[in-house]
Amino acid sequence: MATEKKDPYLESLGGGSGTAYSKSRSAGQKDHPNNNQIIKPSLGSGRLNLFDEVVKNSDWPIPPKDEYQSSDFHVDKLISQFRDLSKPNLFKVSIWSPLGKSEVVNLLAKEATIPNTEVTKITLRRMGTAFQIPGDVNYQDVTLKFHAGQGMEVRRFFNTWQVGYVSNWQDNMATLPKAWQEGKVVIEQLNQRYESVYKVTLVNAWPVNISDIQLSHDMADARSDFSVSFTYHKMLLGEN
């Protein structure tokens, strides 16, 4: 015959048995193996359990204990349904500038970002309550990181695009419409077989910021890299 395990801490609170919670459950309630380990603090024998009292008097739709104590999760289920998950180091970047496409630039892209999608909200207030209404789509700049290349080819590619087309700094010439009409950036997520499974296309993109390159005699093991921030007119998901 099994003896009841008593909790000395709960006993010290008010002389309770320490198993008041498990005793107070209805007889027809399904037992969960973990229930035997759950010991809820009680104010002592003969007094109501505060937690049960709050649940009983509440209007909130609290699910029966069976629902939130059981779960159909199992790691075998996860493995059988998903052979693998997408990896952040499998991606491809393709960039078209007004000069055309450069395979070197695409290959030397070392970091990319799948941009966030955001819809602005319009807040309408009435009597202190805020009603949130969807507003316009807000596109934020996308930053890619590149190796500069052995002959600084990648850096030169973006310099020519930005300085020569977006705004001609040397000659103080006006912006050419071509600079933002012909730029396109495609970021693709690849699977294990290097197939494109998700694609984001930035339309009418142009480099708004080319970052600096840190040079130092201390950086013997590093390679020169820099980041380029693109701004764009709109984003297409899964299209060319």
Partner: protein
Amino acid sequence: MSNFIDLRRYANNLNFWNNSTLQDKFGILRQSRFVCLLNAPEKLTSQFKDLRGNGWLEWQVLAVSCPDVMISTQEMEINGWPRYYLETRRDADLSITFMESSDLIVRTFFYAWMNAGYNQIKMHRNYIEDVEAKEMKIIPITHDNRGVRADVFRGVFPYQINNLDYNMESGEGILKTEVKFKYLFHTIENINSSEEDHEILK
């Protein structure tokens, strides 16, 4: 008899959600979604047709200030009590801001329009009927790009082209041309109503 009005139903935000125009059949309108249908006089647009084609003016619109409607009143005092009489209706100006081009086409167009009415070199003035636009419509558009109601202006002519502000210190502004119009009638109509439908013109 109670000495208060029960207004609880107005304080309930669920009633606001269900009864206000938030749940309107065409959706709530936004400031940024509108269309201007501008019909300039035919003889003027024909001069510029080669440059931009028909309907080019509507695509240059950036902002519109749809004017207020105001009836001026006359205040009198009779036996010590104030009385009001409706006097005349005075309409404010219609103001439209256009995006300017490299050849200042918008400014040139409205300059030619105003010159057709009052030419300071040849010193002649035309009747308004000869230089007015028959009809202009400002239409807010819904989420599915449809127009339902429109502010309609009839007998429209420009009377002021606003100044262009050039400034070498700022590299972030674009050139805009603001034009102010006067008009004979301002009505708010269904989008499909014709001139014959309107009471004023009957």
